[in-house]
Point group: C2
Chain length 453, copies 2
């Protein structure tokens, strides 16, 4: 039943991928709106009901809701995904343009291919497959798609907090993670949390000539360098007082399972990270460092002169975009406060600093011992022909923690990406095998829920 | 004779200031060319001869040459200046637009007003005043104006090195410096040198998602922070091995004279630098730190995500624009080599770095004991009604060292700017009193050279 839709499903996904729905850039609001309209039209055409564009807050981006609730007695599945994408820069590094989806070597190349439009479309097509074949679904289904995942997800958070009845469900399915390896289906049971900040440093009141004032005037860029090196040691240890106090290490059983995963650290460095060496805290494995240890990263340092050539300016102001990934049981609000205090303390004389917290999310750890996770394991085993593994992800999906807490439903992270998909990077891709396998696994998952209900 | 031209001179200067001749930005080549044409037309109209546009190197910006050599037996003065300006960013901070010259409170506000179009125009108008009144000059005069002062001055350097006969002169007059204070005429006898660099750091081969790879992947922005703090201590000491080895301290007599200059360090901080505190090496006065001690400054850190909002990227590459100001007797080539070695040594594992040297210039120290400096002192005393002081400048004018070395002529730095002119900053200004006083002082200076010849 799915095979007949392979080509049509791909065409429709490509139409969505062509829309540069970059939520972080205001000039793309119109493209986000077009993505909303496309998804609503798709839901309506499939036969879903209560298709709605939900505008939760002024200047926010709309949520898209749809449901089909005609399977009395069967469980209700809430599918979550997002239609917004990261900015495509640096543009010059894309082999095919980011918003011209292109098939190469069995992969779909486009910004958002894996994160998250391709995965959202696998969810949608799994439902469409049932509707097309049976004109009905084995379970009740709700879709809740958002357009602010890459910018903090304020709207979906507000909506979930205040609409428990409208979102009532037995489990939440999130497809926004990756399989551990090609052919090795995975269930993600852990996500890191996040505190994203912007540190702005002010020195003099105006830009100064480095010849005339160099040696007496404060330099905010130099101050930021001192703040950054004061926040994190060269050995990868975060130096913020209290930062590690609540860190809960992974269970021995979980660490043992990670040790059994196929992993070649040298191949990971050479083929995936592609850098001269790996970095991070001594005494922790790569799995621990990327899944179960917190980090602090600098994403950009706006300010000063960044054009071609030479300008001898001491800028009045500069900023650093710095985020921390959190692990269980770190408290985002506490970390944000500790970070702010540390930055203030590290700000050199002559400069003042201001910390803005752009977003926060706690880490998530899902129990593998529930029937929804069990059904997912069975579906993945059947479709991908291999025993699924339990892994964590170093990324953050704030809505997962929120759904678990607010809706009281287990969250099943069935993701079909691959580790080298290049999320947030040039040449982001999504394998056709992931797309079609995802559709089949999710369709199978829905059926399995009724068999065991 | 000068009074009658006050209004006309200002109009013509404004026409030059309206041209955004930003040499560092390729898109402004046409504006640089328009500045050249304007200056050539002006020289021709004034009655100067051999007016030439000199294109020294491909893709360079033209030099403008003109002369008047009909004063046999009298000395020859070579006037040097530059028609190029720094970029105007940050644009939002300008009260009036940078290329719409505006009079406010006795000042001309525009990019380039003081650096260096206003000062070049004072030179030109001093010659025009003589030509208009006497149809002749008391001395022989050459003008050599360049358009690459803000980007390294390659063309003028190449031209001076190879055209000694065409530039033969008894003294060089450079008007590109500031008076010590309003009403206190100054002769600049020292300039710092410069090594301007761009340090590019590469980590992974592509941008990475900070969630998936944070904790294992190298971060070039963090690497740059470590390089910067490794190059310079929090106390302002440069940590590059060998960096201070050749530093020649100022003579005791010179330091004593600086101590007698009117200076209020707290007022300097509050009204001029306008920062919460001054910075720099302990044990050195502000004069020493800005005139006679080398410095290292960061001007910009391009790379990563610098737009609005949040992007969780670990960039593959980032760069830092870093310059050092040099003092006598540091050797720019040696410093460049020491810097490059230090950056390589400071580059953390996981990253590689590459240093590009964009420009170099040695420091300059001029002897105050020659007749040209003596004439300048007398002219400044007469026109400004105060005893001129000998000062240094922390800035760099590479052509000054070159003229002294190549043309064997003393360089007289008669500059008419003021310390708060905001060179390279928003709201750059040039006082009308500086403009008109400069014209009068330079016209007087030419006459004085004949009286004493």
């Amino acid at each position: 039943m799915i095979a007949s839709r392979r080509s049509a499903a791909l065409d429709e996904l490509f139409a969505l991928l062509r829309l540069p729905s970059v939520s972080t850039l205001p000039e793309h609001r119109g493209d986000c709106e077009r993505a909303v309209q496309l998804l609503m039209a798709k839901f309506t055409a499939m036969g879903l009901e209560h298709v709605q564009r939900l505008m939760v807050r002024e200047r926010g981006l709309p949520l898209v809701y749809a449901d089909w609730l005609h399977a009395p007695g069967a469980p209700t599945v809430l599918f979550y995904g997002h239609y917004d994408v990261q900015p495509p820069d640096p543009l010059a590094e894309w082999i095919s343009p980011p918003f011209t989806p292109t098939l190469r070597d069995g992969n779909i190349y486009a910004r958002g291919a894996a994160d998250d439009k391709g995965q959202v479309f696998a969810q949608i097509e799994s439902v469409q497959a049932w509707m097309q074949a049976e004109h009905a679904l084995p379970v009740n289904v709700r879709f809740l798609l958002e357009g602010e995942e890459e910018v903090g997800g304020e709207s979906v958070e507000a909506y979930i907090r205040t609409h428990h009845a409208e979102l009532a469900c037995d489990c939440v399915v999130v497809s926004d993670t990756a399989m551990y390896a090609p052919g090795l289906p995975s269930l993600d049971v852990g996500l890191r949390g996040m505190v994203y900040t912007e540190v702005e440093v002010q020195g003099a009141e105006r830009d100064l000539h480095s010849g005339l004032y160099g040696g007496a005037a404060p330099n905010p860029l130099e101050a930021l360098a001192r703040i950054i090196t004061g926040l994190k040691s060269g050995e990868g240890k975060i130096l913020i007082p209290g930062f590690y106090d609540r860190v809960a290490p992974p269970a021995v059983k979980e660490k043992d399972a990670w040790r059994r995963l196929p992993f070649d650290e040298e191949a990971f460095r050479r083929d995936e990270v592609r850098s001269p060496a790996l970095t991070g805290e001594a005494g922790f494995s790569v799995f621990e460092r990327t899944w179960a240890r917190p980090t602090l990263e600098v994403h950009g340092i706006p300010g000063g002169f960044t054009g071609a050539g030479a300008k001898t300016v001491i800028p009045a102001r500069a900023a650093a975009k710095i985020s921390m990934r959190l692990v269980p049981d770190q408290d985002p609000e506490e970390i944000a406060a500790q970070f702010t205090a540390a930055v203030q303390r590290l700000t050199p004389a002559g400069c003042t600093s201001q910390v803005r917290i752009l977003s926060t999310a706690p880490a998530v750890l899902v129990s593998p011992d529930n029937r929804y996770v069990g059904a997912a394991v069975a579906s993945l085993r059947r479709v991908f022909g291999a025993e699924p593994v339990f892994i964590r992800s170093g990324g953050s999906i704030p809505v997962v923690a929120l759904c678990a807490a607010e809706l009281g439903a287990p969250v099943v992270m069935m993701g079909f990406g691959l580790p080298d998909d290049g999320l947030h990077s040039p040449n982001e891709k999504f394998a056709l095998s992931s797309f079609y396998g995802g559709i089949r696994a999710l369709a199978d998952f829905m059926l399995r829920l009724t068999e065991r209900a």
